[in-house]
Point group: C2
Chain length 327, copies 2
């Protein structure tokens, strides 16, 4: 594989790319813990990505993408659109590399995510989530400023970067129990984490989990072609997973692996947040708890070599308080 | 140092003993993360002991002590008294080693701690916290059954075991930023964690933090001799730190190191719990948040090589919900 190939934006993400991303990530970020949790007589392994410096796994893709920008690109900066976690990932990497960053965020994003993204020094522009105009906004900014667009999943670097999480899971499970994951249950918005982790674990069964009504990846995989979220999707706490349409770059990887999707209710998500609070002492946001929710609800049967992503923990205080108090 | 010496219950804890404990702990428990947090323009390093399998650092001392029991002792079992975290640490080690465990707990201990200790298979006996009769109860059980008493801090194994936390901090800070801690701010009940971490870090400044009204270690260190908690101490959320009297084994180590104590208010503790929730995505119990509280309140000036123990995260849902909602 040539250096040229690695820097081609139209390339497909690869295991070699995931390994390269993992090396870059490991150079600046210690592994997040892989924590045991008992479910129905089995011990599953929860990957606590909510403990990343930005509170979510998205720091991985942001770092892998931005460190591969050339000198000219770094000068012109980057533009990204995101409900909040990718925003913070790109803003964190941009600040560390001294790259100007503009982030387009939905106006109803959690206050914590908006505030944190601004605190990381990014220029934040808000938009109406359901209008779907964010791609156009990003393209306009890119044309005006020369900034590189950093999509939240539809990009080979992003998939590879998120896949470094799957590689860490594999290495940690080997170190902790002496065997590899046979199943990875991943939270799924656009599918970057799931598809990257699939590349990192060629032998593992991959399951993707989405909130009910936002289960377009599930329906796409079941039907063999990409379909969007249905009209008028329900309200959800899972702001991180409100992707209206996935992309071939993630879908094709998951389809080839015969991945199945599962949808979880908001009550199941809240239960998972309470379990993570009570038994793991972790703060997990709704969108970061869907994979655990599916396992706890018995919608996926677990093994002693099952890994579950707890992919983010950026949740507003009042919502978290209501959830753990059970009201 | 002979094997004989290492197994003498009247011995003093040593750095060599801490290193031995750390090896035993590392063999079964991955290091908890050392997470960066910005305070007043500095980056401090928070040791997330709330992520241990029992939700607190106490698993360290329990494991170090119980693994050094001989065959006869293991058969007769162990007895411990604890507000909850030491209880779980001993119960966890006992279950793993198939040793019978009786734990004496205050009747007003957090529900989560009582339930978790029972779930770990220990026999739980409750007592009235302010009566101070727990030592007698433990002695009676020991005489009747031959069980070994495992104190929560007044014991060389326990100090060395907790000190493995300080050794991990040192190794992780070296790996993450290339230098050792110059200051460790430790939550303090009986002083096991602080004195063990002092042994593990001979060059570091050690600061101990207690809740207001329960600051007997602070007053003992200031006066050069052990004094108890004053009569009618205030109510506190910090159930893990309600030690009425410290012991020479921990006090002497801290006095020799010229350690100073700091006391924090309950409002300062709650603020620290909110910061850990919002910025670290961690659930920290009141007693586990006092060290961070002192740093955030400006009662201790921090450096870029300061480590702060977040020593436990076993807190009831309703209390945590009230604290993070700010009411």
């Amino acid at each position: 594989m040539t250096e040229q190939y690695l820097l081609d934006p139209a390339r497909q993400p690869t295991l070699a790319g995931v390994e390269r991303a993992a090396q870059k990530v490991a150079a600046i970020l210690p592994s997040t813990p892989l924590l045991p949790l008992a479910i129905e007589g089995k011990t599953v392994w929860c990957k606590a990505e909510c403990l990343q410096p930005i509170g979510a796994f998205k720091i991985r893709g942001g770092w892998h993408r931005l460190t591969d920008l050339n000198v000219e690109q770094r000068k012109n900066g980057v533009v990204a659109f995101s409900s909040g976690n990718h925003a913070q990932g790109v803003a964190w990497a941009a600040r560390r590399l001294d790259v100007p960053a503009t982030i387009i965020m939905p106006e109803d994003a959690p206050k914590a995510k908006l505030a944190n993204t601004k605190a990381l020094g990014a220029k934040v522009i808000t938009y109406d989530r359901m209008s779907g105009a964010r791609e156009q906004l990003a393209a306009d900014i890119s044309r005006e400023t020369g900034a590189v667009v950093v999509p939240s999943f539809d990009d080979p670097w992003i998939v590879e970067g998120q896949g470094s999480c799957g590689l860490e899971i594999r290495e940690q499970m080997m170190a902790q129990i002496g065997s590899e994951p046979d199943q990875i249950i991943a939270c799924c918005g656009g599918g970057g984490l799931a598809s990257g982790s699939a590349l990192a674990n060629p032998e593992a069964k991959i399951v993707v989990v989405e909130p009910e009504g936002w289960d377009d990846m599930k329906r796409s995989l079941a039907g063999g072609k990409i379909v969007p979220v249905k009209n008028d999707p329900p309200e959800t706490d899972c702001d991180a997973l409100q992707t209206l349409l996935v992309s071939p770059i993630t879908f094709d990887i998951l389809r080839e692996r015969k991945v199945e999707g599962v949808a979880v209710s908001i009550a199941e998500v809240h239960n998972a947040m309470r379990v993570a609070f009570e038994q793991l002492q972790l703060v997990v946001e709704p969108g970061g708890a869907v994979a655990l929710a599916a396992a706890l609800a018995g919608k996926i049967s677990v093994t002693n070599n099952t890994a579950i992503t707890l992919s983010g923990g950026n949740v507003d205080n009042d919502l978290f308080a209501r959830v753990i108090a059970g009201s």
